[in-house]
Symmetry: D2
Subunit: 439 residues, 4 copies
């Protein structure tokens, strides 16, 4: 990615659009988000963008096309009279999982799509971009009012895929014996170690979930009260150095610390360290990242971990993972008191960065933080209406909630009520942990 790319500019415009008329603001946001996807793809060759490295990951080209198909099917086809799709086959090829929108190409075969070529997908993006922008400008007021939420959903959807583009391509590059990098890393002065400190929260009856009028995914709603016991959260995520001590203490060989399925995963997969780590003979780890192979900042948050590893570390450390509501209550309170920030310290770096000293919750936004909460529906949960009803609800079993945001998340994308979720064995996202304990 070129240094001059306005990644943060686009991101900040996403969250600060105070004075513009709604249509102008939406059009600008649309252009910003769409441009950022193209910018993220730009360091990659057509070959890099075509290959699928595992069934859970998707090719960059597929992400670029799928996010475009989302606008085409949910906005243009749904609301523009006489709209002619760019290519009738794209609905089949680039539908991810929307059963209501027809049959689709099997997920594990996304990497076989050498055609349409990358250049055709880029042309597809251009055509849909033009049509959406024309629609935003030309739609009558009633139609615009009806579609604004679909367009906004499409933008948040694309931002989610922007994060996956980075984590999926990291997985692909990590399997290449030549160890290619995605882009070079800007130099940065190392941070001083930040000692582990416990911040106390009194719990009680607290409100969680999204209740404001701005955008949120359906899975964050409805806002409702929960009861919490008094608890404490660590002031920062677990670091590489701390996790290395767990490894050196034999953590990966001692079933006491592990959930039963976690211990089975350790043995079946031969896990000995976080994903992309290699342990040298001297016991010092190296980790492959989007900046290529390299050493590890001992004070940076550890990632990627599966939920199994996060829970095992917490057990070894004599602590536990927070529930998603403990996390949300603490962060919401700290945000309201200006004692934390969801945005990271170094947005241009594509590795987790060590937090600097300071009060409150530090290091948010560096790694997704595993919680000890299964991904269940909130009381009174209602899915989005229409095809988007399949967006979140149908995945609410067998997955675990992560909170926060990561070094790969688009700036401005996440919020205190945001619920990310993955199966407990997934470990190709930038996922780490923050310790909790009872008071």
């Amino acid at each position: 990615m070129n240094a001059e790319l306005p990644m943060n500019a686009s991101a900040s415009s996403l969250v600060q659009v105070p004075a513009l008329a709604p249509r102008t603001a939406l059009a600008r946001r649309f252009m910003d988000v769409r441009a950022r996807s193209a910018a993220l793809a730009s360091p990659l060759s057509a070959e890099d963008q075509c290959v699928q490295s595992m069934p859970d990951a998707s090719p960059t080209k597929w992400h670029l096309a799928h996010t475009t198909w989302f606008f085409e099917s949910m906005v243009l086809e749904a609301f523009v009279p006489d709209y002619r799709v760019v290519d009738p086959q794209f609905g089949f090829l680039f539908n991810s999982y929307y059963e209501s929108l027809g049959p689709r190409h099997p997920r594990p075969q996304r990497g076989l799509l050498t055609r349409p070529a990358l250049s055709e997908v880029q042309a597809y993006r251009k055509a849909v971009d033009a049509a959406v922008l024309a629609f935003i400008e030309d739609a009558d007021d009633a139609t615009f009012a009806e579609t604004e939420s679909a367009i906004t959903l499409g933008l948040h959807h694309e931002q989610q895929h922007q994060e996956l583009m980075l984590t999926d391509v990291l997985h692909l590059l990590s399997l290449n014996p030549t160890q290619p990098l995605y882009r070079t890393q800007a130099p940065m002065a190392p941070a001083a170690p930040l000692a582990l400190d416990w911040l106390a929260f009194e719990g009680g009856r607290v409100a969680v979930g999204h209740g404001r009028s701005d955008f949120a995914f359906d899975n964050e709603t409805p806002r409702h009260d929960v009861l919490l016991r008094p608890y404490a959260l660590a002031n920062r995520p677990v670091t590489n150095a701390e996790y290395l001590a767990f490894i050196h203490d034999g953590g990966y060989r001692d079933p006491r610390w592990w959930l039963s399925d976690g211990w089975a995963a350790v043995q079946a997969n031969g896990w000995e360290a976080p994903a992309y780590w290699s342990l040298r003979n001297d016991g010092q780890p190296r980790q492959f990242s989007l900046h290529g192979p390299g050493g590890l900042d001992p004070h940076a948050p550890v990632a990627p971990l599966s939920l199994f590893e996060a829970a095992a570390y917490a057990a070894w450390a004599g602590a536990r993972l927070p529930t998603e509501f403990e996390w949300e209550a603490a962060v919401s309170q700290a945000l309201s008191e200006s004692r934390c920030s969801l945005e990271r310290r170094s947005p241009e770096r594509l590795v987790p960065t060590a937090p600097t000293a300071g009060p409150g919750l530090r290091g948010l936004g560096e790694v997704w933080e595993w919680t000890r909460s299964a991904y269940d529906p909130y009381p009174g949960f209602r899915p989005f209406e229409g095809p988007a009803s399949e967006y979140n609800g149908k995945f609410m079993v067998g997955q675990v909630v992560l909170r926060g945001g990561s070094c790969a998340s688009p700036p401005g994308h996440v919020r205190a009520t945001y619920r990310n979720f993955f199966p407990p064995g997934a470990r190709w996202q930038f996922s780490g942990l923050r310790l909790a304990r009872d008071l």
Copy 2:
């Protein structure tokens, strides 16, 4: 099983031991529970008791030996000085998953253990029974006080395995083309249909979990308050006839009703109906049961269903599954008002039985009722101490809670706070559902 077997006698003695001295009461309970396991095995040949029909199931002989090993290792070896184990190999062969108690035979190979012979396992049971009873009688007061909870845990553990003995052998027999039965079914007059009715509960702040001094598993504790919205529960479980309507409406071919993983399971496994069902050409189902092949009572609760099927039916019916706390709050309240019973109507039948008319929650104890709650730890959860710490906690991911009890549950075993759990795709237990909805 012979008609003269005192199954219910033994069971009722389990819950009514008012006037006996503690040691005498415990000894009697021990003998009752142990005798019931042997009685359950008695209709089966040595061959029947040896074979393992799938990795999730275990042979009857293994259940008989494993429950015995539990007493030997957790009571006799732990508390009896100079105790000599019956066979040093049994610890390896019959440990289920207790990592702290040493290595163990792989679960999928339990069916290869043609040796020790069934007769040896029966002798093992006799030897351990005698040693435990002697210990109960002879231990000094301090030791007895220390071990009473371990013996009680062993009895509840054995009752859990009694249910598995029945469901596992049903799975085995169902795969036999000769369709053998476990025992004949006592005739029973069919019940009149009981119309679906909705019982309202106001929710609010309610206490859940076990808080009394009698026995409970660690996963039921600590008792704590939760907040519930107003809700309604169906007065009885979903019936075979209702579920058949879902099938005839194309329920198994319509992805709208299914969780994403559920739809994948339907397609991967070719599911078209509940487990052990066969749909005849006239659309009428038959079901293989422990009483052999036969027709279905249309008004009896449907089972076995996976969580996926239960949730799909609920979605099709315009309702939902209750959370485990909605279920517990409703049942606790009804129990306190004597408006429900956890014991079944026909304890000697090994198929779910249609509920009779009456007020309150009907049909409890016929089928385990899937809830919409993942199996997460309660706030402040602390596992049992010692080797039993591995009993429950380490399974708290990827599983879903069921409540109630089934036609295969030992009488007196379950309670309103009891948390059963299985993966969402499991469908060899007697698992069904009761509908819920918001108010």
Copy 3:
């Protein structure tokens, strides 16, 4: 197996029936072979006889029933008017692979058949035995003439299954941590080492295949001429001591010696030694056998080996495997000159036995000898007629020929033209090798 069992008596009667009338001779042979199967099963419990330890193996009970079904379907049903089968389900349960005789129970599920009970299978055997013997006595001459070959085929078929009964149960017992034995081993004085010697054969145009009027399987025919170059065969099979040298030389870690598929099998299965071997810390092997765990006679033939291991050893030793025709020509010539015997030295032992000194080809009949010949049809090959046409021909791809006989083969069963065959990775038969080289 009881010492008084007339195993060899029955066997020798099989090959020496000179003076009896054809019907009497056949009836006696029938009784002998059938009795031997029951005798082989007699040391095993009903549990032992029920379980299937891998898809390639079958339970003893299944072997007992399948060989009986073979007579019932190929003789009684085919030739006895109004014959009523013992149980209509048995055709489905105990058909192995005869598509022309209808659908059948899936092979990997043979171990689920706890019913019919062993006692029912034993009764099935008795009923069919009686019916066949009555048929032999009562059939009119034309019918008897027509059926004699089917009965004879059934006897040879049952003898093949007798060998599988032993090798399959060895596999089952080997997986039991208690290491049970099938029967105790009679003591025997160890043989003096027999040095490796090369016997030269001139090759040329030689006739191979079965051409006499007595029984042979279809795959041994027609007799035909082949051209052989001059070659040499080792005077005896490769021994345990020789094979151990290959192991100690790193044979299992050096891809040079291995066929490509063989090297893949070594790595996928973690092979480090022949089947059932364990290498102790001092480098000395032990081997589990039908006589239980024990040491190895260094001078006895090594087994069980896969073809891959046999070929790798031969390459390491600077030699090769013989073709099946080199083997047959050499053995036929030696037999005609009385310089070898296909019968083993110690028929009552169920492990390969070291050959004693002497001229000619030694150690025949101890282990099946892998050849370097794929199992292809002979020129002009015609399968048996009728249902037995599926006996051999349809397996003629992907398999490799073994010649000779093993310590588990019924006495008198094999001959110089006999073609045994298994996939190259199979290693649960008593399969070893004899070296060959060009002259």
Copy 4:
């Protein structure tokens, strides 16, 4: 592929280099073969050339690099003093299976190699081409004499990969729902049907295998005599129309015709027709080819078939497959009498073409013809020396011989003694069959 590409020019130069000096001839041949590989790749995008569609297939880019590595490692590294490899990682990445040349990238992960880029591989080819040509020109006579066979082997090796480039890319494109074509098909007048005729051969003692001084693979040697019975071969391969009759007669649903492993493959894979066929509702087949989707010439040879399908068709037709020696003897005799040609009628077409009328063996070179001969070593077989010893010998188990050549074979590449081989279930080569029968 552009029409002006000198594909056949290069091919014919390959077989007709009479008057040039050896070095000049070899250099010209080298340039021709290398240019043809580049020409074959030229219709494909970088994306097309990068993806691997199944473990058995390789990406085009990998083929281009691997054939180059073959020259670099077997010629330049072996014989050029102080040669510096183009990239030290390429030995790891592009070694196919030569254990003696060090570790290598796992075959199923060849498609993950988005780096090196296609352009880097093209540069690699240029660099190695220049070095090899310089070596051919500059080497002293002794070295040249020593290396000529390695270079020649490299050229034949590259020609083998040229065929795989086409069959592998056909497999990739066939899985693309957009059904892209590799290149358009030149129009051609359809041939008149050629009736099936039987050509008789007397057999007897015939010499097979390669015995001349020109190039052959090691597996074609040594030349030796075999004995053949009188036999007949069909005058042409089985046609699409004939095979369709087999399908319409229920051939894929009748186990009688199938080898046991073949019937299992039919059921496991759901085979209903040859690869790339689709059967329309009217029963008429279409087939996807390198020329895109299209109809089938009823008189063209049917392909791709597995050995299982070829053998099943032959059984259904009351005939059989020839042995590889029957095939070779017949073709050698016909070639010597100028009554057949190994070159195809329409070299520029990438689908099998219907043979025209004429005497002798027609249609050779259109489809590889499955034989009924397992791929075993010839008597006295000696592998190539050096690293090339792994070229053929280590695959001699579990595979079946095909003879002839196909529409994807480089012109001039095959000969009467050529032994192609694939596992019996492989069906992505242009493999068909020619019937044989006994006389």
